[in-house]
Amino acid sequence: MTNNSRSAQKRGIIPAPIVNTAMAISRWFNNLPQVIAVALVILTVLLGWELIVRLGDIPVIILPSPSLVGTQVITVFGQLAPGEFLLGELWTTIQEVLIGFGIACVFGFAIGLWVGQTKFGQKAVMPLFVALEATPKIAFAPVFIAWFGFGITSKYVLAAFMSVFPIIIGTAAGLAATSEDELKLFKSMKARAWDVFWKLKMLRALPFIFAGLKIAIVAALTGAVAAEFIGGGIGFGEQIRLAATRLALDRVFALILILSLLGIALFSLVAWVQKKVTFWDSPNLRLMKKGKNSSLAVTR
């Protein structure tokens, strides 16, 4: 490498000052703090988008410019103020997600236990869920609307249906994660089955269960919004559908941004709980502790 570039310089193909400057610029980019680097990428994309729309004279109904979307975001935030109608729609969607996620947790744990702890469940039930997992579950949306009507019920049932699978699979996989050595240790200490489950298997399963929950919370949001698209005239999804039928794509983008923020918030909440509950699972436990000046040992 060095040899090559040096000989290239000697032969005068690339002058040394240019090579050095290029390397310095690349180093500067690589050493940027992550927040600034991310902001830089977003800004660049927005700027490029704005330029393409303006120079290409692209109509709003095909692609609104970021500045137009930005204006709409301000409008949308205004409609999200307390007492405004959009806040109510958002609250409807949040309710659907949380109820659906709650139902998925209950059924997911129960079925995951069944599948993970019994031979019958493993043999007879697991293949069924693996097959169902491979189907596009969102295609069931009209079925749920037909069964549960246009109200909130069909929305949270689809949200639950979409998010139950990763919880089942996470729970079942987690219960299988206990090692032979650990089981032998508990056996040698004459542990009761209850203790083997609660003091060993369940805790071993937690990181896997949380991995499932993180996928599930996002799936619940997808399910709720999809059900709103398909029927009922309620929730945030309906607002997006309405804006889209009016070809107000700037508003559509603004509403999607709000939904994305909701998704990120829900995901971060689960990730935060995971970090609190399974802090011991971090491979960097030793480093973390050094960095935090032994706060782990003191607080727990």
């Binding site: 032998k184 040698s188 805790l203 011991w280 030793r286 502790k289």
Partner: protein, 267 residues
């Protein structure tokens, strides 16, 4: 119920009577007609190539498996499930990562007598932790411990119930040589101070000779005892013992016994 006392007199007597074991579904004899009489307070080693059944024998002694033939007696009673007063340790420390060192050490008491009893033994646990040099790491999580430190914590967990018998399945097999020698010294002093009966499964000849009163050399397929070597070196043994000519002779004898058991003859 288990009063801490460093000078516990014990009289645990293990008898292994004509034990054979074939794993279900196979016709490989893991153990064939093995009989050992372990004197109370003595330190014995089971050594041999993999497949000689040394771990199978230890598991049977720990009540973790029932041999297909013969019987194992502790204090005259047949072993049927993990016996009282027996502590066991494996090659892997197997600490629970969500528990601090103290909580890991107290686990056997918590499982036996409940969380209240475990809490009442906290001071005992801290004392044992200090004796193995883990002071300052009582509240550390296993993810913060090195391999040697984790094995020390596992030793504490084994000792918290004040067992008369220690069953050790290659406890330091995963540690580096220097750490291992230091751990061997500590193990000896623990065994001596508690007058514990110790059964060590190992694949290291020097370790077996250094620690044991009696070394049982085993051969594979079928697993059986090929030779019994009494090690008559003064105790406590120290690092210097390793340089003793007698030590080298014992090591040579065990090696010869193992080679013969393997079908390799030295003329």
């Amino acid at each position: 119920m288990n009063q801490p006392s460093a000078t516990a007199q014990n009289s645990a007597q293990y008898r292994i009577e004509d034990v054979s074991h074939t794993f279900p579904g196979t016709d490989i004899e893991a153990l064939q007609n093995v009989s050992i009489d372990i004197k109370p307070g003595s330190f014995i080693s089971l050594i041999g190539p993999s497949g000689c059944g040394k771990s199978t024998l230890l598991n049977a002694m720990a009540g973790l498996l029932t041999p297909s033939q013969g019987q194992i007696l502790i204090n005259g009673q047949q072993v049927d499930g993990p016996p009282e007063d027996v502590g066991i340790m494996f090659q892997k420390a197997t600490l629970l990562p969500w528990r601090t060192t103290v909580a890991n050490v107290l686990l056997p008491i918590e499982l036996r007598d409940g969380a209240q009893a475990a809490k009442a033994h906290t001071d005992d646990a801290l004392a044992i932790i200090e004796t193995v040099g883990l002071k300052g790491f009582e509240n550390a999580y296993p993810g913060e411990l090195s391999g040697g430190m984790a094995q020390r914590a596992a030793i504490c967990r084994m000792l918290i119930t004040e067992p008369d018998v220690l069953l050790l399945d290659e406890p330091f097999g995963a540690l580096d040589e220097l750490t291992r020698e230091r751990m061997d010294l500590e193990l000896q002093s623990i065994a001596l101070s508690r007058n514990a009966t110790v059964v060590l499964v190992t694949h290291s000849i020097p370790e077996a000779v250094f620690l044991s009163d009696t070394v049982y050399a085993m051969s594979a397929r079928p697993g059986r005892i090929s030779e019994i070597i009494e090690v008559d070196l003064p105790r406590p043994r120290e690092m210097d013992t390793l340089n003793h000519p007698d030590f080298a002779r014992y090591v040579g004898r065990v090696r010869t016994a193992l080679n013969e058991g393997h079908g390799v003859h030295n003329d």
